[in-house]
Protein backbone atom coordinates (compact mmCIF):
# COMPACT_ATOMS: atom_id res chain seq x y z
CA UNK A 1 0.00 0.00 0.00
CA UNK A 2 2.85 2.36 0.97
CA UNK A 3 4.71 1.69 -2.29
CA UNK A 4 1.51 2.29 -4.23
CA UNK A 5 1.10 5.67 -2.53
CA UNK A 6 4.73 6.58 -3.22
CA UNK A 7 4.32 5.65 -6.88
CA UNK A 8 1.14 7.72 -7.08
CA UNK A 9 2.88 10.77 -5.58
CA UNK A 10 5.82 10.42 -7.98
CA UNK A 11 3.43 10.21 -10.94
CA UNK A 12 1.26 13.15 -9.87
CA UNK A 13 3.96 15.55 -8.61
CA UNK A 14 5.22 16.69 -12.02
CA UNK A 15 1.67 17.61 -13.01
CA UNK A 16 1.44 20.13 -10.17
CA UNK A 17 5.07 21.26 -10.20
CA UNK A 18 6.85 20.73 -13.49
CA UNK A 19 10.43 20.99 -12.21
CA UNK A 20 12.18 21.02 -15.59
CA UNK A 21 9.84 19.86 -18.28
CA UNK A 22 11.10 18.57 -21.56
CA UNK A 23 12.52 21.00 -24.10
CA UNK A 24 10.36 21.19 -27.22
CA UNK A 25 11.40 22.06 -30.77
CA UNK A 26 9.40 22.90 -33.86
CA UNK A 27 9.85 24.24 -37.39
CA UNK A 28 7.52 26.75 -39.07
CA UNK A 29 6.17 25.12 -42.24
CA UNK A 30 6.11 28.41 -44.17
CA UNK A 31 9.28 30.24 -43.14
CA UNK A 32 11.44 27.34 -41.98
CA UNK A 33 12.18 29.25 -38.77
CA UNK A 34 12.93 26.96 -35.83
CA UNK A 35 11.65 27.31 -32.27
CA UNK A 36 12.83 26.00 -28.91
CA UNK A 37 10.73 26.15 -25.75
CA UNK A 38 10.56 24.91 -22.20
CA UNK A 39 8.30 25.40 -19.19
CA UNK A 40 9.98 25.49 -15.80
CA UNK A 41 8.33 26.11 -12.43
CA UNK A 42 5.26 27.59 -14.11
CA UNK A 43 7.20 29.90 -16.44
CA UNK A 44 7.19 29.40 -20.21
CA UNK A 45 10.35 30.39 -22.13
CA UNK A 46 10.77 30.19 -25.90
CA UNK A 47 13.00 31.38 -28.73
CA UNK A 48 11.98 31.46 -32.39
CA UNK A 49 14.49 32.29 -35.11
CA UNK A 50 13.96 35.56 -36.95
CA UNK A 51 15.62 35.02 -40.30
CA UNK A 52 17.79 37.96 -41.45
CA UNK A 53 15.43 38.66 -44.38
CA UNK A 54 12.47 38.73 -42.00
CA UNK A 55 14.29 41.19 -39.75
CA UNK A 56 15.23 43.33 -42.76
CA UNK A 57 11.60 43.43 -43.90
CA UNK A 58 10.36 44.38 -40.44
CA UNK A 59 12.84 47.17 -39.86
CA UNK A 60 12.93 48.62 -43.37
CA UNK A 61 9.18 49.05 -42.97
CA UNK A 62 9.87 50.93 -39.73
CA UNK A 63 12.20 53.42 -41.49
CA UNK A 64 15.68 51.88 -41.29
CA UNK A 65 17.90 51.49 -44.32
CA UNK A 66 19.26 48.00 -44.98
CA UNK A 67 22.76 49.30 -44.28
CA UNK A 68 21.70 50.61 -40.88
CA UNK A 69 19.84 47.53 -39.71
CA UNK A 70 21.85 44.65 -41.24
CA UNK A 71 24.37 44.48 -38.33
CA UNK A 72 21.40 43.74 -36.07
CA UNK A 73 19.37 41.43 -38.32
CA UNK A 74 22.43 39.28 -39.03
CA UNK A 75 23.40 39.02 -35.35
CA UNK A 76 21.33 35.86 -34.65
CA UNK A 77 18.00 37.31 -33.56
CA UNK A 78 15.12 35.48 -31.89
CA UNK A 79 11.52 36.26 -31.11
CA UNK A 80 11.61 35.62 -27.39
CA UNK A 81 8.66 34.87 -25.12
CA UNK A 82 8.63 34.65 -21.33
CA UNK A 83 5.25 34.08 -19.66
CA UNK A 84 4.21 33.52 -16.06
CA UNK A 85 1.61 30.81 -16.50
CA UNK A 86 1.42 29.38 -13.01
CA UNK A 87 4.38 30.37 -10.87
CA UNK A 88 3.29 30.94 -7.26
CA UNK A 89 3.98 34.67 -7.28
CA UNK A 90 5.51 37.58 -9.19
CA UNK A 91 8.32 36.63 -11.55
CA UNK A 92 11.01 39.31 -11.82
CA UNK A 93 13.90 39.17 -14.25
CA UNK A 94 16.81 41.32 -15.38
CA UNK A 95 17.94 40.32 -18.85
CA UNK A 96 21.52 41.20 -17.92
CA UNK A 97 21.50 38.11 -15.68
CA UNK A 98 20.75 35.79 -18.58
CA UNK A 99 23.67 33.98 -20.18
CA UNK A 100 24.67 32.19 -23.34
CA UNK A 101 27.44 29.69 -23.93
CA UNK A 102 29.02 27.96 -26.90
CA UNK A 103 30.52 24.54 -26.10
CA UNK A 104 30.36 25.47 -22.42
CA UNK A 105 32.25 28.76 -22.91
CA UNK A 106 30.32 31.89 -21.88
CA UNK A 107 29.71 34.55 -24.52
CA UNK A 108 28.72 38.19 -24.09
CA UNK A 109 25.71 39.61 -25.88
CA UNK A 110 24.79 43.23 -26.49
CA UNK A 111 22.19 45.00 -24.39
CA UNK A 112 19.24 46.87 -25.90
CA UNK A 113 20.89 50.17 -24.92
CA UNK A 114 24.10 49.20 -26.74
CA UNK A 115 22.13 48.43 -29.91
CA UNK A 116 20.17 51.70 -29.64
CA UNK A 117 23.47 53.64 -29.28
CA UNK A 118 24.94 51.85 -32.30
CA UNK A 119 21.86 52.57 -34.44
CA UNK A 120 21.72 56.17 -33.23
CA UNK A 121 25.36 56.57 -34.31
CA UNK A 122 24.31 55.17 -37.72
CA UNK A 123 21.88 58.14 -37.93
CA UNK A 124 18.67 56.13 -37.85
CA UNK A 125 15.52 58.29 -37.62
CA UNK A 126 13.62 58.82 -34.37
CA UNK A 127 10.47 56.81 -35.30
CA UNK A 128 12.69 53.92 -36.42
CA UNK A 129 14.65 54.03 -33.16
CA UNK A 130 11.45 54.11 -31.08
CA UNK A 131 10.15 51.06 -32.96
CA UNK A 132 13.49 49.30 -32.52
CA UNK A 133 13.66 49.99 -28.78
CA UNK A 134 10.13 48.79 -28.08
CA UNK A 135 10.30 45.76 -30.39
CA UNK A 136 13.10 44.33 -28.23
CA UNK A 137 12.51 41.90 -25.41
CA UNK A 138 12.38 44.04 -22.22
CA UNK A 139 15.67 44.44 -20.32
CA UNK A 140 13.73 44.06 -17.06
CA UNK A 141 10.15 43.11 -16.21
CA UNK A 142 7.77 41.72 -13.60
CA UNK A 143 5.08 39.19 -14.47
CA UNK A 144 2.08 38.39 -12.32
CA UNK A 145 0.91 34.76 -12.43
CA UNK A 146 -1.95 33.85 -14.70
CA UNK A 147 -0.62 35.16 -17.97
CA UNK A 148 1.55 38.28 -17.86
CA UNK A 149 4.04 37.93 -20.69
CA UNK A 150 6.12 39.67 -23.33
CA UNK A 151 7.16 38.83 -26.83
CA UNK A 152 10.18 40.68 -28.19
CA UNK A 153 13.37 40.43 -30.17
CA UNK A 154 16.64 39.25 -28.66
CA UNK A 155 20.01 39.37 -30.43
CA UNK A 156 22.63 36.91 -29.18
CA UNK A 157 25.43 38.23 -31.44
CA UNK A 158 26.60 34.89 -32.83
CA UNK A 159 27.35 33.93 -36.45
CA UNK A 160 24.91 32.09 -38.74
CA UNK A 161 24.69 28.38 -37.97
CA UNK A 162 26.27 28.69 -34.50
CA UNK A 163 24.82 26.30 -31.89
CA UNK A 164 24.58 27.56 -28.32
CA UNK A 165 22.80 27.22 -24.97
CA UNK A 166 20.86 30.08 -23.38
CA UNK A 167 19.79 30.35 -19.75
CA UNK A 168 16.97 32.66 -18.65
CA UNK A 169 17.05 33.58 -14.95
CA UNK A 170 14.39 35.08 -12.74
CA UNK A 171 13.61 35.48 -9.08
CA UNK A 172 10.40 34.83 -7.20
CA UNK A 173 9.94 35.63 -3.50
CA UNK A 174 13.70 35.85 -3.05
CA UNK A 175 14.37 32.50 -4.68
CA UNK A 176 16.31 32.17 -7.95
CA UNK A 177 15.12 30.08 -10.88
CA UNK A 178 16.56 29.34 -14.28
CA UNK A 179 15.56 27.59 -17.49
CA UNK A 180 18.08 26.57 -20.13
CA UNK A 181 17.40 25.94 -23.80
CA UNK A 182 20.15 23.74 -25.20
CA UNK A 183 21.32 23.23 -28.76
CA UNK A 184 19.71 26.42 -30.05
CA UNK A 185 20.88 27.23 -33.56
CA UNK A 186 21.40 30.59 -35.27
CA UNK A 187 19.54 30.80 -38.59
CA UNK A 188 21.74 30.04 -41.61
Amino acid sequence: MRSLLTAAVICVLPVFYPVQAQQLQSVNDVTGARSWSRTHAGVYFSLTQILPEQGDAFYVNRGFSLEQIRPFTTSCVYMTVLRNDSAPGIVHFVRGNWSISVDGEPREFKTVDQWVKKLTAAEAGKPALIAFRWAQFPPEQEYEPGGDWNQGMLSVGLPAGQVFDITARWDLRGQSFEATLTGVECAK
Binding site: N28, T31, D56, R62, P127, W134, Q141, E142, G147
Partner: protein
Amino acid sequence: MQSKSPARALQILLLCFLWASALQAQDLPPLTHKLTPIRTPSVAPDLIFHNMDEEKVDLKDYRGKVVVVNFWATWCPPCRREMGSMERLYQATRDSNVEILAVNIGEDLDTVFSFLGTVEPSPTFPLLFDTDAVSMKQWKVKGLPTTYIVDSEGRLAYRAIGGREFDHPAIRKAITALGQ
Protein backbone atom coordinates in the same frame (compact mmCIF):
# COMPACT_ATOMS: atom_id res chain seq x y z
CA MET B 1 15.58 53.19 -47.57
CA GLN B 2 18.91 53.57 -49.33
CA SER B 3 18.55 50.42 -51.44
CA LYS B 4 16.09 51.71 -54.04
CA SER B 5 15.79 48.66 -56.28
CA PRO B 6 12.05 48.07 -56.95
CA ALA B 7 12.66 44.32 -57.08
CA ARG B 8 14.34 44.42 -53.68
CA ALA B 9 11.54 46.55 -52.24
CA LEU B 10 8.95 44.11 -53.62
CA GLN B 11 10.90 41.20 -52.21
CA ILE B 12 10.96 42.82 -48.76
CA LEU B 13 7.23 43.58 -48.88
CA LEU B 14 6.49 40.00 -49.92
CA LEU B 15 8.68 38.64 -47.14
CA CYS B 16 6.96 40.93 -44.67
CA PHE B 17 3.57 39.61 -45.77
CA LEU B 18 4.72 36.00 -45.68
CA TRP B 19 6.26 36.50 -42.26
CA ALA B 20 3.11 38.11 -40.89
CA SER B 21 1.00 35.29 -42.36
CA ALA B 22 3.32 32.66 -40.98
CA LEU B 23 3.24 34.27 -37.56
CA GLN B 24 -0.52 34.27 -37.68
CA ALA B 25 -0.54 30.59 -38.46
CA GLN B 26 2.17 29.36 -36.11
CA ASP B 27 4.48 30.43 -33.31
CA LEU B 28 1.88 32.58 -31.63
CA PRO B 29 1.60 32.28 -27.89
CA PRO B 30 -1.99 32.29 -26.65
CA LEU B 31 -3.54 35.56 -25.53
CA THR B 32 -4.36 35.30 -21.84
CA HIS B 33 -7.41 36.59 -19.97
CA LYS B 34 -6.48 37.67 -16.47
CA LEU B 35 -6.16 41.20 -15.14
CA THR B 36 -3.92 41.81 -12.14
CA PRO B 37 -5.48 43.93 -9.38
CA ILE B 38 -3.15 46.73 -8.32
CA ARG B 39 -2.69 46.20 -4.59
CA THR B 40 -2.20 49.83 -3.62
CA PRO B 41 -4.14 51.84 -6.20
CA SER B 42 -2.55 55.19 -6.98
CA VAL B 43 -3.78 58.06 -9.13
CA ALA B 44 -3.15 57.40 -12.83
CA PRO B 45 -0.32 59.44 -14.39
CA ASP B 46 -1.22 62.24 -16.80
CA LEU B 47 -2.25 61.18 -20.30
CA ILE B 48 -2.79 63.97 -22.82
CA PHE B 49 -2.36 63.27 -26.54
CA HIS B 50 -4.01 64.05 -29.85
CA ASN B 51 -6.52 61.64 -31.40
CA MET B 52 -6.97 60.77 -35.08
CA ASP B 53 -8.91 64.00 -35.62
CA GLU B 54 -5.95 65.86 -34.12
CA GLU B 55 -8.04 66.91 -31.12
CA LYS B 56 -6.43 66.94 -27.68
CA VAL B 57 -7.68 64.13 -25.41
CA ASP B 58 -7.03 64.25 -21.65
CA LEU B 59 -7.60 61.22 -19.44
CA LYS B 60 -8.73 63.55 -16.66
CA ASP B 61 -11.79 64.45 -18.74
CA TYR B 62 -12.97 60.85 -18.36
CA ARG B 63 -13.24 61.06 -14.56
CA GLY B 64 -16.43 59.25 -13.54
CA LYS B 65 -15.85 56.53 -16.15
CA VAL B 66 -13.83 53.35 -16.10
CA VAL B 67 -11.07 53.76 -18.70
CA VAL B 68 -9.06 51.02 -20.37
CA VAL B 69 -5.69 52.59 -21.27
CA ASN B 70 -3.84 50.42 -23.78
CA PHE B 71 -0.28 51.08 -25.03
CA TRP B 72 0.36 49.55 -28.43
CA ALA B 73 1.99 49.77 -31.89
CA THR B 74 1.01 48.38 -35.29
CA TRP B 75 4.28 46.40 -35.55
CA CYS B 76 3.68 44.59 -32.24
CA PRO B 77 2.11 41.15 -32.96
CA PRO B 78 0.21 40.71 -29.66
CA CYS B 79 -1.02 44.33 -29.89
CA ARG B 80 -2.48 43.59 -33.31
CA ARG B 81 -4.06 40.37 -32.11
CA GLU B 82 -5.79 41.88 -29.10
CA MET B 83 -7.17 44.95 -30.91
CA GLY B 84 -10.27 43.19 -32.29
CA SER B 85 -11.17 41.84 -28.84
CA MET B 86 -10.83 45.35 -27.44
CA GLU B 87 -13.36 46.65 -29.94
CA ARG B 88 -15.75 43.82 -29.00
CA LEU B 89 -15.29 44.78 -25.34
CA TYR B 90 -15.97 48.41 -26.26
CA GLN B 91 -19.19 47.53 -28.06
CA ALA B 92 -20.34 45.31 -25.19
CA THR B 93 -19.63 47.84 -22.43
CA ARG B 94 -20.53 51.17 -24.02
CA ASP B 95 -23.61 51.39 -21.83
CA SER B 96 -21.66 50.40 -18.71
CA ASN B 97 -19.70 53.61 -18.21
CA VAL B 98 -16.55 52.15 -19.81
CA GLU B 99 -14.23 53.96 -22.26
CA ILE B 100 -11.13 52.75 -24.09
CA LEU B 101 -8.11 54.92 -24.98
CA ALA B 102 -5.49 53.13 -27.08
CA VAL B 103 -2.18 55.00 -27.10
CA ASN B 104 -0.06 54.31 -30.16
CA ILE B 105 3.67 54.51 -29.53
CA GLY B 106 5.91 56.24 -32.03
CA GLU B 107 3.90 56.00 -35.25
CA ASP B 108 2.09 58.47 -37.46
CA LEU B 109 -1.55 58.85 -38.45
CA ASP B 110 -1.13 57.32 -41.92
CA THR B 111 0.48 54.16 -40.55
CA VAL B 112 -2.26 53.67 -37.96
CA PHE B 113 -5.02 54.49 -40.44
CA SER B 114 -3.72 51.83 -42.86
CA PHE B 115 -3.58 49.30 -40.03
CA LEU B 116 -7.18 49.89 -38.96
CA GLY B 117 -8.51 48.34 -42.15
CA THR B 118 -6.82 45.06 -41.27
CA VAL B 119 -8.52 44.69 -37.88
CA GLU B 120 -11.82 42.86 -37.57
CA PRO B 121 -13.81 44.45 -36.05
CA SER B 122 -12.05 47.74 -36.73
CA PRO B 123 -11.58 49.92 -33.64
CA THR B 124 -14.10 52.73 -33.10
CA PHE B 125 -12.73 53.79 -29.71
CA PRO B 126 -10.34 56.77 -29.46
CA LEU B 127 -6.79 56.15 -30.69
CA LEU B 128 -4.18 58.55 -29.32
CA PHE B 129 -0.68 59.33 -30.62
CA ASP B 130 2.38 59.39 -28.37
CA THR B 131 4.87 59.97 -31.17
CA ASP B 132 7.85 60.44 -28.80
CA ALA B 133 7.01 57.49 -26.52
CA VAL B 134 7.04 59.79 -23.48
CA SER B 135 4.18 57.95 -21.75
CA MET B 136 6.18 54.74 -21.44
CA LYS B 137 8.29 56.12 -18.59
CA GLN B 138 5.41 57.96 -16.89
CA TRP B 139 3.24 54.83 -16.92
CA LYS B 140 6.15 52.46 -16.14
CA VAL B 141 5.56 50.49 -19.33
CA LYS B 142 8.44 48.11 -20.04
CA GLY B 143 7.00 46.23 -23.00
CA LEU B 144 4.13 46.37 -25.50
CA PRO B 145 1.29 45.80 -25.18
CA THR B 146 0.62 46.95 -21.63
CA THR B 147 -2.86 47.86 -20.43
CA TYR B 148 -4.12 49.61 -17.32
CA ILE B 149 -7.70 49.83 -16.12
CA VAL B 150 -8.38 53.19 -14.48
CA ASP B 151 -11.36 53.33 -12.12
CA SER B 152 -14.02 56.04 -12.11
CA GLU B 153 -12.05 58.04 -9.54
CA GLY B 154 -8.95 58.10 -11.74
CA ARG B 155 -6.97 55.43 -9.87
CA LEU B 156 -5.08 52.52 -11.39
CA ALA B 157 -7.16 49.43 -10.62
CA TYR B 158 -5.81 46.65 -12.84
CA ARG B 159 -2.79 45.99 -15.04
CA ALA B 160 -2.12 43.53 -17.86
CA ILE B 161 1.32 42.96 -19.37
CA GLY B 162 1.18 41.23 -22.76
CA GLY B 163 -1.71 40.47 -25.09
CA ARG B 164 -5.15 39.69 -23.71
CA GLU B 165 -8.52 38.52 -25.03
CA PHE B 166 -10.32 41.60 -23.81
CA ASP B 167 -13.78 40.26 -24.57
CA HIS B 168 -13.21 37.21 -22.39
CA PRO B 169 -15.99 36.98 -19.76
CA ALA B 170 -13.50 37.21 -16.87
CA ILE B 171 -12.05 40.51 -18.14
CA ARG B 172 -15.44 41.91 -19.09
CA LYS B 173 -16.81 41.09 -15.66
CA ALA B 174 -13.88 42.73 -13.84
CA ILE B 175 -14.15 45.91 -15.90
CA THR B 176 -17.92 46.30 -15.74
CA ALA B 177 -17.87 45.65 -11.98
CA LEU B 178 -15.60 48.68 -11.58
CA GLY B 179 -18.16 50.85 -13.34
CA GLN B 180 -21.05 49.92 -11.08
